[in-house]
């Protein structure tokens, strides 16, 4: 019998590093010249430097490097697909296995909390101009932090009750505890960034209005809407069919205490699908993942696939949903057809969770950026990682600064 992991909703699966085990791990680092790990971090978090600082017992210096380069350093330490980025580049791989960069980063950020460090200091008087950031997800947060550090007066507008976007609502808390998200966001608040919550800025008209009060606007609303399945035989409107983002959000808001029935299927092969499956398993359902392509083609990170596997969640590949089966006006089953068309598969299903990708919400589709309006993150790059959104947000901040400087010069 294979032993699987029984992981409580919100509980982490890894033991955190302490000063001694962190030192042990940092001692494995080859301390490369022109460190490839640093080169391969989109946000420039610079693991080469912060691992060296840990190795030389300068823990606060390590924290400083992370926080200065990546305002969401805490979140990224946990959810970054490191095996495709820094850890893939790690030279130690040439000997055995890469340095556990994410865990070292998590350790350093933890020390920031313990020591009550305030690494970043923004000017108190924001005299340089007013900027609105729409959306409180990674790209907007990174953009706002950078602008605030440079002395701009930044206000973030967010439709939801809490800031963080995908960090707060779209990821399983066993991977990313809310405390980590809140710690990162507190660092942004401490810079003097203002947050206006429960305020939806819904597309062009609202943005035009904002333009009257702000010198520039950054749009970082991400891809906030689950994609709809293009199959008229899948009834999206019946009780029992839900989309991934709504499911993850409801679960987080209720700390995993929700009832979604016994038999659950998640359709999709990305990180969101894996997070849904983890969540459904933790809630206590009989969960399976069905993906229309192969594992090799699945966009989910290796770490996510590994967790799902460890939790004993089956992944059925090369099958796509064909038809929903209803009983008494609610979902009773789903039939799937194989990619080659030869086979069908029928499941008894209480809940069908569709995790087949996200798209921009209506008001932000075909967005044209006019004078003084900037955008970055998933909305622009089509849906990438959080660390990429941090990189894009930082870059957008620089573009805004450049724009305002030029405007002033005129």
């Amino acid at each position: 019998m294979t032993r699987t992991i029984d992981l409580e909703y919100g509980k982490s699966m890894k033991r955190k590093l302490n000063i001694r085990t962190a030192m042990e791990e940092a001692s494995r680092c080859l301390l490369c010249h022109d460190a490839p790990c640093s080169r391969d971090c989109p946000a420039g978090t610079d693991p080469g430097s912060f691992i060296r600082s840990i190795r030389f017992r300068n823990i606060k210096g390590a924290t400083e490097t992370i926080r200065k380069n990546n305002i969401l350093g805490g979140c990224c330490s946990l959810i970054c697909p490191r095996e495709k980025l820094c850890e893939e580049a790690c030279s130690r791989t040439g000997i055995d296995k890469p340095i556990r960069i994410g865990e070292l980063q998590e350790f350093a950020i933890e020390q920031e909390k313990i020591f009550g460090m305030e690494v970043l200091k923004a000017p108190k008087d924001k005299k340089k101009g007013k900027i609105a950031c729409v959306g409180a997800g990674p790209a907007s947060l990174a953009c706002a932090a950078k602008l605030s550090l440079e002395g701009y007066d930044v206000t973030i507008f967010e439709a939801e009750e809490k800031p963080g976007g995908v960090l707060t609502y779209g990821i399983n808390p066993s991977r990313l505890p809310q405390g980590v998200v809140e710690h990162d966001i507190k660092k942004i608040k401490d810079l003097g960034v203002k947050f206006v919550m429960n305020k939806r800025i819904d597309g062009k008209k609202d943005i035009k209005k904002l333009k009257d009060d702000f010198d520039a606007i950054h749009i970082g609303v991400g891809l906030g809407k689950s994609k709809e399945i293009e199959n008229k035989y899948i009834n999206k409107n019946i009780d029992g069919v839900i989309n991934a983002l709504d499911f993850l959000k409801t679960a987080r808001e209720n700390n995993g205490k929700i009832d979604i029935g016994e038999d659950v299927i998640v359709v999709g092969g990305g990180d969101v699908a894996m997070d849904c499956a983890m969540t459904a398993k933790q809630i206590g359902t009989n969960i399976s993942i069905v993906y229309r392509r192969t594992i090799e083609e699945a966009p989910a990170s290796y770490e996510e696939l590994e967790i799902v596997q460890k939790m004993g969640i089956p992944i059925i590949t090369n099958f796509a949903p064909e038809k929903t089966i209803e009983e008494n006006g609610r979902l009773a089953g789903v039939s799937f057809r194989s990619r080659d068309g030869h086979s069908t598969m029928n499941f008894k299903v209480d809940k069908l969770i569709l995790a087949i990708g996200q798209e921009a919400s209506l008001g932000y589709r075909d967005l044209k950026l006019s004078d003084g309006i900037f955008a970055s993150g998933d909305l622009i790059n089509g849906g990438e990682t959080v660390v990429q959104a941090v990189a894009d947000g930082k870059k957008a901040a620089l573009d805004i600064i450049d724009y305002l400087n030029k405007k002033e010069a005129k």
Partner: protein
């Protein structure tokens, strides 16, 4: 890392932007190398020993100590003084001072006769150096007229220091060998000869490993090897001891000391400062990791000062020295019983093994639960605490006073990293 405190310090009347200097060694051999080090943040350099003598070096010339998977616990070096012609070194020194006026260029010199010492003193002073360091301590010279053989002879140390001082207006530092019993004797001889500062320590004479293939020491030079200087982390405890010995001596305690030996991190550096060193020299860790290690020394020391509310290094220099006392002065009234945290315990039993085989059989082992338990045999030696690999699992616990001793307040160390 941009957080920085003012780490400036006066060493022998010369203002140093920080106490971190390269020592006279392979890491400080040329203009190009030292300029890179200065750009990395080093406050100054002890330029690799300049002499009239040009060494004929062997190959290979280095070896390392190891323990388990840790490499470079120590480093053995057979290289002698600079292999460059004197004129080239003088030109480099001159150019360094011209291009980096705010960095400190101390130059190590070594002669084989009184006349050579005088000549070197004069030429290096004219080249624009900030101070001179007399190398009385290199243990691998091919001539006994130079190096640690000189450093063990107080008469020669006195004579040569005097010769150097007579030809310069710059402060002169004497670099001591640890290959003797009492470092104070040659140090006092150097001070009598006019030296203003003391550097301690040079490398420790060593045989790192015996090669099982060629039946000689490492490194193997055509089937043979020789005894030569050992440095790095392994010698830090020896260096700290010599620094303390020097500064405890009534005739030396006012002297500015440059501490050398196994400094890799800001904490190592701080330890030398707390004993009273005002300047720090580093080689081995630079050989292993590069000049960049100074960045974490500067940053780490700055954070330490910030944490403690210290605004100048002068406030902390020497503050640990009075607490290092003779063995008979220690408070021996009590024993501190270790406390084992069963939750943290990884159940390995290493504390049990060490206590039984090397201590006082003071730990009982619960075979069922795989848990150690301290019994009444405990003398409070803390071998278990040092053997335990789990952070915070074994910590100092109850203070028990020996029979007939008056209980009193006892300071207990609580943080073991």
């Amino acid at each position: 890392m941009t957080f920085k405190k003012d780490l400036s310090i006066d060493f022998l009347g010369v203002k140093c932007e920080n106490p971190f200097f390269l020592s006279s060694s392979p890491v400080s051999s040329s203009y190009e190398m030292i300029s890179k080090a200065f750009e990395s943040g080093w406050g100054g350099v002890f330029y690799k020993t300049v002499g009239i003598f040009i060494p004929d070096e062997c190959s290979p010339r280095f070896d390392i100590g190891t323990k388990e998977s840790t490499v470079w616990t120590g480093f053995k070096n057979m290289e002698m003084i600079s292999d460059k012609p004197l004129e080239v070194n003088l030109e480099y020194i001159n150019k360094l001072k011209r291009d980096y006026p705010n960095k400190v260029v101390a130059v190590s010199i070594m002669g084989s006769t009184k006349e050579e010492w005088e000549e070197l003193s004069k030429l290096v002073t004219e080249a624009g150096a900030d101070m001179l360091e007399c190398n009385f301590s290199c243990p691998q010279m091919t001539s006994s007229a130079m190096g640690s053989d000189v450093g063990q002879n107080p008469d020669l140390v006195y004579e040569y220091t005097k010769a150097v001082v007579s030809k310069t207006h710059l402060p002169v530092v004497a670099k001591m060998t640890p290959n003797l019993g009492n470092i104070e004797i040659p140090a006092i001889a150097a001070l009598k000869g006019g030296a203003k500062g003391i550097s301690a320590i040079n490398t420790v004479k060593s045989i790192t490993n015996i090669d099982l293939e060629h039946l000689t020491a490492m490194p193997v030079v055509n089937g043979k090897s020789s005894i030569s200087g050992y440095s790095g982390a392994a010698i830090k405890p020896i260096a700290l001891r010599f620094v303390a010995d020097l500064l405890k001596h009534p005739d030396i305690r006012e002297t500015h000391i440059s501490g050398i030996g196994g400094i890799e991190t800001w904490q190592d550096a701080l330890e030398f400062l707390l004993l009273g060193a005002r300047n720090l020299q580093v080689t081995t860790s630079v050989m292993q990791y590069g000049y960049r290690i100074v960045e974490d020394m500067i940053s780490g020391l700055s954070y330490y000062m910030d944490e403690r509310g210290v605004s100048s290094l002068d406030e902390i220099i020497g503050t640990a020295l009075p607490n290092i006392v003779s063995a008979e002065e220690l408070d021996r009234d009590f024993k501190i019983i270790p406390e084992i945290d069963e939750e943290k315990c990884a159940n390995c039993g290493r504390c049990y093994i060490s206590c039984f085989d090397a201590g006082h059989q003071a730990i009982d082992w619960d075979e069922e639960k795989r848990l150690p338990k301290v019994n009444d045999n405990c003398v409070g030696c803390h071998l278990c605490l040092n053997v335990c690999l789990v952070l915070g699992c074994i910590i100092p616990g109850e203070v028990k006073f020996k029979e007939g001793r008056t209980p009193h307040e006892v300071e207990i160390k609580e943080i073991y990293e």
